[in-house]
């Protein structure tokens, strides 16, 4: 079965998605509605195990190539798993498993839960498909699965805010995916192939012609705009705060932990693999700085917890782009490590916000206060997450941000490093403000009776907080996780060779 692991990692959530409506009908008939939740949870954990089973081979430096339908690389679709894919797949599978556990209690007051779980599994299948595929059109198809199900999930509660956020996200997101499709079309017209490795080799040859054909930077721009919408790079970020604020917190956590990670992955894979030698580093540095600064400044003025987290999410994307943009081994390593850490503490923070919304019913900072006494565990976990995201030692955010700073100094970009340090301090400032107005200070009368969040919600939060601390104390552990991915980003020829050689 190990040989089929790449396809099974996609097929398990996909089939779980197809089966969830059937399972919930059957479960309802037998009066055990919870069976549906257990089924989804089981599928997510099974997926995590399958992804983990690929790890030893990939960390040895192999590229796992799976030929769908038995067609050799350029003719059919292949799945190709190298270090980068594996890291992202691990992040997604873990995040989804934790969110499946968290949703059991958090979502129990909503109607239409079988649809929620179906869409959750389909988002997962889409993320996995984008992550593991080695074919650029297939990447687009699964990107659409991921996008369409996340549009639906954002609008899940159907109230005023969420339909507004849903339609905004949908229109902006669809524009982005059509840019991606246009770029894929141009590639097909240019070289007549759709396989990423094959395209990489051929575009490399085209780039060698003098002068550089204008179509190559055009395709790159279209890809960056398309994926940039998904990761909310700054001029394209308008949808994100609305979507994160209006969606249920579990969905906000999913979007910040899984879909943005996939967006970064797709951007890295496409830009470094297909357009490696162009000046993409400088472009990423500039975009990263702008994203970081604008996201941070906007977060300062927010009065809603989830909106604040959304803007800080934008700001963290800037760090990742900055680290990756330095282009050195250390910079890419720092950027990918930050990608991992961002998924961990961002999901943690959104889960804490969800716990507060679950108990109090609002995420407006003006209406909260003095909750530290009532919800001590949630408060502690939120503070852990907030310190981690602000880059305070000994938490994981510090380790990755430090790597990015060092990489920046080594790459001869002290100004970028200085801006990043300042923005990190700013992050601490607005998180302190949020902590102050939520957990400290005057407690309004109506919050006296608030109780601690239930255990099934606390458990995934605890797991994530433990990761925050462990990766902060032992940063080398995280570095070991990330190093194969960094090797994969920089090893274009190896990837082409392994995939094309598999035929």
């Amino acid at each position: 079965m190990i040989a089929h692991a790449p396809i099974l990692a996609i097929v398990v959530p996909l089939f779980a998605g197809f089966l969830t409506p059937v399972v919930s009908i059957v479960a309802k008939r037998f009066g055990v509605e919870r069976a549906r939740d257990w089924f989804v949870m089981g599928a997510a954990i099974l997926m995590l195990l399958i992804v983990a089973s690929m790890a030893p081979a990939v960390w040895r430096g192999e590229v796992l190539v799976y030929k769908l339908g038995g067609w050799s690389p350029p003719w059919g679709i292949v799945l190709a798993v190298d270090g980068l894919n594996l890291l992202v797949a691990l992040i997604i599978a873990s995040v989804v498993s934790l969110i499946a556990i968290y949703s059991v209690v958090y979502m129990e007051r909503d109607s239409g839960l079988e649809k929620y779980y179906t869409l959750l599994m389909l988002v997962t299948a889409g993320c996995m498909g984008v992550t593991l595929t080695g074919d650029v059109f297939n990447l687009f198809v699964f990107f659409e699965i991921m996008s369409i199900s996340s549009y639906a999930l954002v609008a899940f509660r159907r109230n005023w805010d969420s339909v507004e956020a849903g339609i905004k996200y949908m229109i902006i997101g669809s524009l982005g995916t059509s840019f991606i499709l246009l770029s894929i079309t141009l590639m097909y017209g240019l070289v007549g192939s759709l396989n990423i490795a094959d395209l990489a080799g051929k575009i490399e040859a085209i780039k060698a012609t003098q002068p550089l054909p204008m179509i190559v930077p055009l395709m790159l721009t279209l890809f960056v705009v398309g994926f940039g919408i998904k990761i909310a790079m700054v001029p394209l970020h308008a949808w994100l705060p609305d979507a994160y604020q209006a969606a249920p917190s579990a969905v906000s956590a999913l979007l910040s932990g899984a879909t943005t990670t996939v967006g970064v992955y797709a951007m890295l894979r496409v830009s470094y693999m297909l357009f490696g030698a162009l000046a993409i580093g400088t472009m990423f540095i500039i975009l990263g700085l702008v994203t970081m600064v604008v996201g941070g400044l906007m977060a300062l003025t927010q009065r809603d917890l989830k909106r604040l987290l959304a803007y800080s999410s934008i700001s963290q994307m800037g760090y990742i782009l900055l680290g990756v943009g330095f282009g050195t081994a250390m910079g890419i390593q720092g950027g990918l490590f930050h990608l991992l850490n961002n998924a961990i503490y961002k999901v943690l923070l959104f889960m804490c916000a969800g716990a507060i919304v679950y108990r109090v019913g609002t995420s407006n900072l003006d209406e909260l206060g003095g909750l530290g006494k009532n919800m001590p565990i949630t408060a502690t976990l939120f503070i852990v997450g907030a310190l981690a995201i602000s880059g305070v030692p000994p938490f994981n955010g510090f380790a990755s941000k430090w790597t990015i700073y060092v990489a920046g100094m080594e790459a001869g970009q002290p100004i970028c490093t200085a801006i990043a340090v300042v923005m990190s301090a700013l992050t601490l400032a607005y998180f302190l403000k949020a902590i102050n107005s939520m957990f400290l200070g005057q407690q309004p009368e109506h919050l006296r009776e608030v109780r601690e969040a239930p255990l099934p919600m606390l458990f995934p939060m605890l797991v994530l907080a433990v990761f925050c601390v462990v990766l902060g104390i032992l940063p080398s552990l995280g570095m070991d996780l990330v190093r194969p991915a960094q090797g994969a980003v920089m090893n274009q020829l190896g990837y082409i060779g392994s995939v094309m050689g598999a035929g």
């Binding site: 659409e144 369409i148 549009y151 507004e164 905004k168 229109i171 499709l181 079309t185 097909y188 705060p241």
Partner: protein, 121 residues
């Protein structure tokens, strides 16, 4: 310069223009449709060859087993397959977008995206 490419790209940009300028969500969704259809037209045009036949083995060629002759005459099948996929994706996006538009109208009583602004800051 070929007319097919130009018109396809014009449709694409017309769709973008529609998305930027229209003040009605349904019209924006129509713009999205125009944009995608431009792309489909472009994709199909990429695989065309002068005087080509549809990539379906039929009639005399099928009886004679003339696959080599067929391969030299038929148009590219891959863009057609991609367009089939893309059309379905487009239909799905539209179905969901129009459903959301129905909900928007029920809540807000308007389809003007500039009036639908509860979330801000």
């Amino acid at each position: 310069m070929s007319l097919n490419y130009i018109i396809a790209m014009l449709l694409f940009t017309l769709g973008i223009y529609c998305l930027l300028i229209k003040r009605n969500i349904v019209k924006m969704v129509i713009g999205l449709g125009v944009l995608t259809n431009g792309l489909h037209l472009f994709l199909i045009s990429l695989g065309y060859r002068e005087g080509g036949i549809a990539p379906i083995l039929a009639g005399k060629m099928l009886e004679n087993g003339a696959t080599a002759e067929f391969a030299a005459a038929a148009v590219d099948p891959i863009p057609q397959a991609l367009v089939l996929t893309s059309i379905v994706i487009n239909v799905c996006t539209m179905a969901l977008a129009l459903s959301l538009a129905i909900y928007i109208y029920r809540h807000y009583g308007t389809l003007n995206p500039f009036k639908i602004r509860r979330l801000r800051g």
